[in-house]
Point group: C2
Chain length 306, copies 2
């Protein structure tokens, strides 16, 4: 028992035209092939659908019953087809992104806005969280992809570099080091230092780069806003990646590039390996890559605003 949409369309064509020849034309078939098709349909259903006298073709009682059903099935099927098309052409869909708070608060919304304007039917979700949780969301399939740093275990994931992010020293404007144009790791020794929590990728990177034993950490907080406040009150200094600097735009704060060693982290677009993204997610990721040059200029705008 195998009936196709074409069979249904053919059936409906005869039912409407009441004529095999015209129905066959409508279906781009020879009349004989068409006749065979209808006969086949009748035998599959086990019912005569048409009463053919040589001069007239009419639906049988059972044919009428089937006509209603066939029409309904065709409509249903057309809806399914159009829904699939909607997804392919991104009039429908869903994109779920996990991103570092720094990206989620700065550059990402700008691109998100553009994407949403272009594809109003596609719903977008954004989870702003630390790298590890970003990766977890991707692994669990709760996010299509993540924009974050690479984690220690990247098995099953595929990471594509999106941009690099340099680290800066932030301190109070009255801090002794504030007069310097740039700073090195040696300058930070014995300075009261505000750390982010160990789970933060920033912290992990700093620990690796700056020999933690020699840094006089005096405090450990979870959120950048806390760091900014502590530094703003001159309780200590900190080292922050460029993308997070928008939280440190304050007259009392001074930002200085950290040189020697220059610390750079890479932000990746990370997704499940061997799993294609949905059409919409693919498109959104493409747009993100297309707009990646604006990452810094967007932040610039943000800083100028303060």
């Amino acid at each position: 028992m195998n009936i196709s949409m074409r069979d249904l369309r053919a059936f409906i064509a005869v039912a409407e035209q009441k004529n095999f020849t015209r129905a066959a034309e409508q279906c781009h078939l020879s009349q004989s092939a068409f006749s065979a098709l209808i006969q086949n349909l009748e035998s599959e259903l086990g019912v005569k659908l048409f009463a053919r006298s040589t001069r007239r073709v009419e639906l049988t009682a059972e044919g009428k019953v089937f006509a209603d059903s066939a029409n309904r099935l065709l409509v249903e099927f057309a809806l399914v087809q159009s829904e699939m098309k909607d997804h392919v052409e991104m009039r429908k869909g869903r994109v779920s992104v996990a991103a570092l708070p720094s990206l989620a608060a700065g550059w990402l919304p700008v691109v998100l806005k553009e994407f949403r304007a272009n594809h109003p039917g596609v719903s977008t979700e954004l989870a702003d969280t630390l790298s590890d949780e970003c990766l977890e969301l991707v692994r669990a399939g709760r996010a299509d992809f993540a924009l974050c740093a690479a984690g220690s275990d990247m098995a099953g994931l595929e990471a594509e570099p999106l941009c690099t992010d340099e680290f800066y020293v932030v301190m109070h404007r009255e801090h002794p080091l504030a007069r310097r144009k740039s700073l090195s790791a040696a300058d930070l020794l014995n300075q009261p230092f505000i750390h982010l929590s160990h789970t933060s990728s920033v912290r992990q990177l700093l620990d690796a780069a700056l020999h933690p034993g020699r840094i006089a950490g005096i405090m450990e907080v979870a959120h950048l806003a806390s760091v900014a406040s502590l530094v703003g009150n001159n309780i200590g200094i900190s080292v922050i990646p460029f993308l997070a600097l928008f939280q440190f735009s304050h007259p009392d704060l001074v930002i200085r590039p950290l040189k020697e060693p220059k610390i750079v982290r890479t932000i990746y677009a990370i997704r499940l390996a061997d799993r294609p993204l949905s059409v919409a997610a693919e498109a959104f990721l493409a747009l993100l890559k297309k707009r990646r040059s604006k990452i810094r200029s967007e932040l610039g705008k943000d800083e100028r605003r303060h």
Copy 2:
């Protein structure tokens, strides 16, 4: 764009099994043919439905969307199939019969009852009316077939004899002719005669057979019950077909066979030519023919009851 139910079943099979090989077995196909089938489906829809790594098969985002639709379509289709089957096997359907009042009041209900008991899902309709209107109902498609006498214009109709119906003289028991065992046309001359209306097939047959000029018609009524009442009051006599005699079972009435000429009418099963009956109507007609031997015995029962 031609997608078949088989395609949907195959798709659902992989979606559930998450494995082409098992799904192929489930569909009684070789794995390679199955693979081609799915690829074909994907290309027809214009979307990748499955993410195949060599080790795992999963639905893509679009595949999940399609899975819901495919399931729904299959369910819908199964319902359509079962509805068609219901009609073929007469768990559903409709039979509409037009029949002469004499049949509709006597034999027909008995067969109808049997049919309805065997096929409770099939709705039955019965129009009890004179032959001309019976034929009209059949022509208009309002009745599947009619049980009545043949009309003057039988074009487009197909008549199959069902039974014959002989005519009897009915009169009051005190009527002079009541003592006779049988009567001839000559006996009826100059007797006050109760006629049915000209539209009645009975009347037409009598007019043709009994030389109306020589019959002293004194009254013309539409319904047999009126004839019975008039005759019951000894206002006149009448000639009535056997099948209608059940209305004349009364102690005051006497029924005598009419011989010379013996008048016989034929009752036909009449339907549209070149139009098959619905399965249910065909079955009902078959049952009617099978039970036709009971036409007289049913009437006998009726008469015995009085």
